[in-house]
Subunit: 494 residues, 2 copies
């Protein structure tokens, strides 16, 4: 009964539960009739992402690189089972016509591909990935790349994707800049430095790292996560610099009226926070619960075949991942201030009306210095909103894929299941309702203002500009499904 509810804290338990409870009955080990990607791989992969990458799946650059590689492995392995589709990084032949009622071959290929990609992403869990095969009667020792067999297709697909992306510019192996010892995976190699420190707002227009609490009493200072994401090779377009966002004029402190109005808007949103807004903020902060689950839900609702599901998931991830590259380019360019800094700067010494923190509700005499956003800010400059942009890219891709704006998705949320205010919020069981993809992207974007982590302009510009990345991904998919796109050489960006 509670399986489908957002549970407090242990998000990854929720993920497993939600996947299992989705519309179609779970068909975990039924390779002939089930969907191995959603039924077997996703719950295990999501657990690894939550535990090793991002506890709330709220770091888009790291989370999306993992998900685009995992789903990329699926696509690469599934392509031979389609009449015309080709992989991005491989040509694994064409499987003869098979009884399409039997999913065993495509599922087997997907499982071996998943094992390979997941072992690359999470090498310390290699036993888990081998067990994933063993549990459904497949032999993890089978290392063949014979593309006349499903296992061989899967193994070859994994190798193609890993070799294709291992030097994609994100510095996954930590050796960027010629580093030979003590590798620093995913560390910046571009030399980014914030102009402000956590202790001093030297330039109130620019990004200031915040001091965030970890556990009972450890505080750490934020560090711009993967500034080099802007240099990563995109899937669906050549050059990220072909895209840009207008400057965030109201974040320029020399335009103090605009700057003040923009800060006040965030306080006004904070003062209007209700349970619905709080849960929306938490839901969209988690890229797996929002982007990932919407893909699974819409695929099951449309009764997609395994191949079509894989395409809908991989190319959605392409849309989001490529959107993120441009967002990072613009974040790096503008290096814009977050609301917490601007509010303290503008309203120092004054009291404001706003959310007073967990369990405190809305208060009218909050010292501005003590205001905090409902969610902690992510580790990067404010403008534009990555969350709003990837939601807009994702929604546009889905509209094109399904040729419809409808989704009719209703996400149940149990009373007291908030991550921020556990036991208190929401006051009673409720639902987050998304009748259309348009509603989904609008709520997603606006939730960043409700969360107190973005100004309105960062959301508005992302919602306006980012559908283009859904279109790019859709066009990219069309070429691959038709088999007309040439095979891509491995990235060499590091």
């Amino acid at each position: 009964m509670k399986n489908g509810f957002l549970s407090a804290g242990k998000t990854f338990i929720l993920v497993v539960a939600l996947f299992v409870s989705m519309k179609a009955p779970a068909q975990g080990s039924d390779l002939a009739n089930g969907n191995a990607a959603t039924d077997i791989v996703l719950p295990a992969a999501a657990t690894a992402i939550f535990e090793e990458i991002s506890p709330n799946a709220s770091d888009p650059s790291l989370v999306l690189r993992a998900t685009v590689l995992i789903t990329g492995g699926w696509y690469e392995a599934a392509a031979p089972f389609h009449p015309t589709a080709v992989g991005v990084y491989s040509r694994l032949g064409r499987q003869p016509d098979q009884n399409s009622a039997d999913n065993s071959p495509i599922n087997t290929a997907i499982l071996y591909a998943s094992r390979g990609v997941l072992t690359y992403l999470f090498p310390t869990r290699s036993e888990t990935w081998d067990d994933m095969l063993r549990n459904v009667g497949l032999d993890p020792e089978l290392r063949t790349e014979d593309t006349t067999t499903p296992a061989g297709i899967g193994n070859a697909a994994a190798r193609a994707v890993v070799e294709g992306r291992q030097n994609d510019g994100i510095n996954a192996d930590g050796t960027a800049g010629g580093r030979s010892f003590n590798p620093m995976p995913f560390a910046d190699y571009t030399g980014y430095q914030p102009v402000n420190t956590a202790h001093q707002l030297v330039d109130p227009s620019r990004w200031q790292p915040d001091i965030q609490r970890k556990g009972a009493g450890i505080y750490r200072v934020q560090n711009f996560v993967t500034p080099q994401y802007r240099l990563v090779e995109p899937f669906s377009f050549e050059d990220a610099q072909a895209f840009s966002f207008p400057p965030p004029v109201a974040s320029d402190v020399t335009k103090i009226d605009l700057y003040t109005t923009q800060a006040q808007e965030v306080l006004d949103a904070s003062a209007a926070l209700d349970d619905q807004m709080k849960l929306m903020a938490e839901f969209f902060d988690n890229k797996i619960s929002s982007l990932g689950f919407s893909t699974v839900f819409s695929a099951k609702a449309a009764n997609l075949s395994v191949f079509d599901y894989v395409a809908s998931d991989f190319f959605s991830n392409v849309a989001a991942f490529d959107a993120g590259i441009v967002v990072w380019q613009e974040k790096h360019k503008y290096d814009a201030v977050r609301p917490f800094s601007a509010i303290r700067h503008v309203f120092a010494g004054e009291t404001v009306t706003a959310f007073g923190g967990p369990g405190r509700g809305i208060v009218v005499d909050l010292p501005a210095e003590e205001w905090a956003s409902y969610l902690e800010e992510a580790d990067h400059p404010e403008y534009p909103s990555a969350t709003a942009c990837v939601c807009a890219a994702h929604a546009e891709f889905k509209r094109l894929f399904f040729q419809s704006d409808d989704i009719n998705w209703s996400v149940p949320v149990a009373a007291g299941s908030s991550r921020i205010e556990p036991g208190l919020v929401p006051a009673k069981d409720m639902k987050l309702n998304f009748p259309t993809w348009t509603a989904f992207e609008q709520d997603c974007g606006q939730s960043r203002v409700w969360a107190g982590v973005h100004f309105q302009a960062a959301v508005d510009e992302s919602l306006k500009i980012c559908p283009v990345f859904g279109k790019q991904a859709y066009t990219f998919m069309e070429g691959l499904l038709a088999g007309t796109t040439p095979v891509r050489p491995p990235s060499t960006g590091r």
Copy 2:
């Protein structure tokens, strides 16, 4: 068979295992014959400390405040069962002579006291603490403070300790400075700012926060943990300023010869690292495995009564906690550079011979910029060494308490159980042997140079100066056991 071995990663599992496997057989639920403090409370409390405060129990200010309060609750509850002892913060009467073979009354008082202190320290785990009582047949609903009953003594003891220490200057409730909203527990309220950033070593004599990796690809910048610890009320002396350390002259970059020699010493130690040194470094980094276990081991070896065990543990914690206050005062005063910064500064552009990182062994062509300490540095300036100082204070207290330097403790370490080089180090099963408390403190101190996180002077001065804190704690104990120390009013430092 492997119960007593240091296990990789999940340190808290080890803790539970080590406690259970210590010399005397576990007597978990036998209140009449067992020791509730070691058998029941310690494993549960250690788990909470690892999970909520410090994953490797390597943050002394936060860890020691928790342990001194927990053991302080035991002492406050145990005092009435001694012929003359009085509590620090309470006068809970004197229990009539009892059959000393029956530990039930003192164990019961200790358990109720533990529940109270642990609920204050870890309120979200209140069910765990109530279950701790329930599991041995005690009623957690019993809230009496009737000091003619063991439960009442325990409840009153907990309240006395919590009220005594809640405003001790560490900012446990996060309201220091008059903060009313979004409290920041244990956050600095003294306005400390580092002169260097993680990106720029502006002054090579001074502390530089390092950038440390969390999970797959998140990097965070260090923040001096609890600079206000220097202002916390000590137990065993009035004024921390009565103690001081000589300046760390070799950390002054204007004395470049000394500065270079000091940096080279750390590289030499790194180049000589063997399995024994690596495991010593890991062992002493963890204040629960080193300080805590040595107390339990020595108490069981000496077959101490429950009361004497409690005294040996609480006053050891007093020695370490008070030593830490002075160490923080000096760390704050000198704000001294860590080896990683100095080595990069002095040897920039050169290669050095040193440990090359996990799995790489000793290498002769290591670019100085790529050198990393075997352990990550703790979140505070370098000089003096907190670990060496608390070990020296602890060892001196034990020598006085047992009137002997002998300990004859041998800690088994399983092959491959290193936290830093799991599966590789140590190459085979080995033991860490401590024949005497002097050997214990010497290895403890030196392990900080082996770990690459301290210069030799920080260790040498700590070993020279810090036995005084063991003496202070012993004198403090003598007054309380004799019943001559007046009751102390609650701290008012915040």
